[in-house]
């Protein structure tokens, strides 16, 4: 071991060996003791506690909503064709399931949404990086990019239909216009929040230019970027639903938005409710299955997730 050859010359000149220099391995032992005393203990939450604290409360909340809904129907606050009971919505879902169309409709929308989202990531990421790193580009399009975030993507449906016609391209165009600004802005704010110390440390290690961007800036900006992606997905999904509701056409295939629109035109309230619930369900499911675990993993591995 390295420690033995170094400590061999640690004898004091005057021969009065102090307590620390008495034995060659004392410094190593002292250090090991300090490390053991100071080491940070990382505790994993047991599954039971997760179920009790994270799963139970939302389950109870959903159950309460269903109960109130059922009570409202029974109290006949309004006509049944305006407010169908939960059981009618369930029947409608079961009916679609038996016909085999339920998953098909959901998949039509989800696949469009995810593909559009991935395209938005592919465009929004380099755009965000450019805005964050190049001053002139930021001055030129930074404010427009932030402004675009507050523009409802429904506004794009009309021009998109006129330019591209009633087809999938038009759907993707609407998704991109809705999601790209969020993703780019997320990356910009992620880059802006990179502690200057990391940049200095990176520069002294020789990470400058592209290497600095790749090794330091991008990983340091990841939490902000992920927040942008999460919002970008929400915007993609919303934009897609807006596009599907407004621009329904038989050639487009039946998605959740068209299902909702069909329900409305047929006065089929259980169908309308079912569509709304499915749209909500997909949004929540993608967030819970993809973004939340990703975000938690990134934050936890950096020690940024505070536990109580």
């Amino acid at each position: 071991m390295a420690s033995t050859d170094i400590t061999s010359d640690r004898k004091r000149p005057d021969g009065t060996a102090g307590p620390v220099d008495a034995k060659p391995d004392d410094l190593a032992g002292l250090e090991a003791g300090l490390d053991a005393l100071d080491a940070v203990q990382i505790r994993r939450t047991p599954v039971r506690e997760v179920l009790l604290r994270k799963v139970l409360p939302p389950a109870v909340a959903v159950a309460l909503v269903l109960i109130v809904w059922e009570l409202l129907v029974r109290a006949q606050v309004t006509e049944v064709y305006k407010l169908p009971p939960p059981s009618a919505v369930w029947d409608s879902a079961q009916d679609m399931w038996l016909k085999g169309t339920l998953l098909e409709v959901v998949w039509t929308s989800v696949s469009r949404g995810l593909l559009g989202f991935l395209l938005a990531v592919a465009i929004g990421t380099p755009l965000g990086l450019l805005v964050a790193r190049v001053k002139l580009v930021r001055a030129a399009i930074g404010p427009i990019l932030s402004g675009l975030q507050s523009l409802p993507s429904v506004a794009w449906v009309a021009p998109a239909v006129i330019w591209l016609g009633l087809n999938d391209q038009m759907m993707y165009a609407v998704i991109l216009l809705g999601a790209v600004p969020s993703i780019a802005n997320g990356l910009v704010s992620g880059v802006d929040q990179v502690p200057p110390l990391f940049l200095r440390a990176g520069r002294t290690l020789g990470a400058t230019g592209i290497r600095g961007t790749w090794h330091i800036v991008l990983p340091a900006a990841l939490p902000g970027y992920l927040a942008g992606l999460k919002q970008g997905w929400a915007f993609s999904w919303r934009s897609l639903m807006a596009a599907e509701i407004i621009a329904s056409s038989p050639e487009l295939g039946l998605g959740l938005g068209q299902l909702l629109e069909n329900g409305r035109s047929n006065f089929d309230m259980p169908g309308v409710f079912l569509s709304i619930l499915l749209i909500l369900f997909v949004g929540i499911a993608i967030d819970l299955l993809i973004f939340s675990p990703l975000e938690r993993w990134v934050l936890r591995s950096r020690g940024l997730l505070v536990k109580n």
């Binding site: 390295a2 170094i6 102090g18 620390v20 100071d38 200095r200 020789g206 990470a207 330091i216 950096r302």
Partner: protein, 263 residues
């Protein structure tokens, strides 16, 4: 492995200085025009020498280190570091939280151009050197303050630079840990044969560590006085000789500070 380190150590003795600062001045644009922060600093750090820069607030210690590190340029004068880009350690550990302790060191190796196959072994050797052999896979937040600074030291050593710049690296640590890290740094300095330029405002720390203590005056920073520390290593911060020299330097430092209250 051993032979390469040996030849490098020999190379180091052939260069006559690890850093040479000649008439270095630095001014920044302030609210009242140009403000002189460093004034005519001339300083040589010999290969393998341990020099501490000591001074009160406003002496431009950190500015000086930034200049030597190449993070900023002097307004006048020249700085030579023949051994290439110096390594720099900060008061904050500045480890990247998205990487493990080992990967932080490997990044430094990678940026230095060490081939992939050798990085892991070299990173583990460096962790062993700072006595953190088991910490390779540890995340930064799982390490204590003292351990983080030791990983930061290993990362700085991974640059294999002839000159190690340290900007108050132990200032944020508790006294016990700081004391242990003083021993550690002395040991590593002797083992690696590197030159160290160590900035601090702690007089005893300066005397405990250095072969030469350079006192800077404040606003603007000028070299006020120099002491050669002849006390034999290993030293302890409690040693009488360390205390005696510290008292002398502190008197001088206080004199420098008092001058600023007089007008």
């Amino acid at each position: 492995m051993a032979t390469t380190t040996l030849t490098k150590a020999e190379d180091r003795t052939t260069v006559e200085h690890a850093a040479r600062l000649s008439h270095v001045s630095k001014s920044f644009a302030g609210p009242t025009g140009q403000q002189l922060v460093l004034d005519d600093i001339t300083l040589d750090v010999a290969p393998g020498e341990f020099v501490t820069l000591l001074g009160a607030s406003g002496c431009g210690k950190s500015t000086l280190l930034n200049l030597v590190a190449g993070l900023d340029r002097p307004s006048a004068g020249s700085i030579e570091t023949p051994g290439g880009r110096p390594a720099l350690m900060f008061q904050e550990h500045a480890l990247f939280p998205w990487l493990t302790a080992g990967k932080n060191i490997e990044l430094a190796l990678r940026l230095r151009g060490v081939p992939k196959a050798e990085r892991r072994t070299e990173a583990e050797r460096l962790l062993e050197l700072v006595r953190l052999g088991g910490a390779y896979g540890k995340r930064v937040h799982e390490l204590s303050g003292g351990m983080r600074q030791r990983v930061a030291m290993a990362r700085a050593l991974a640059q294999d630079s002839q000159l190690l710049l340290m900007d108050e690296p132990f200032a944020a640590l508790d006294a016990i840990t700081r004391d242990v890290l003083h021993d550690e740094l002395t040991r590593i300095w002797r083992e690696t044969n590197a030159s160290v330029l160590f900035v601090t405002h702690n007089v005893r720390e300066a005397v405990r560590l250095a072969q030469r203590v350079v006192l800077l005056s404040s606003r603007p920073g000028r070299i006020a006085r120099e002491w050669t520390v002849d006390i034999e290593q290993p030293r302890r911060i409690e040693d009488t000789a360390v205390a005696e020299l510290s008292v002398e330097i502190t008197e001088e430092l206080r004199g420098e500070i008092r001058r600023h209250g007089q007008h």
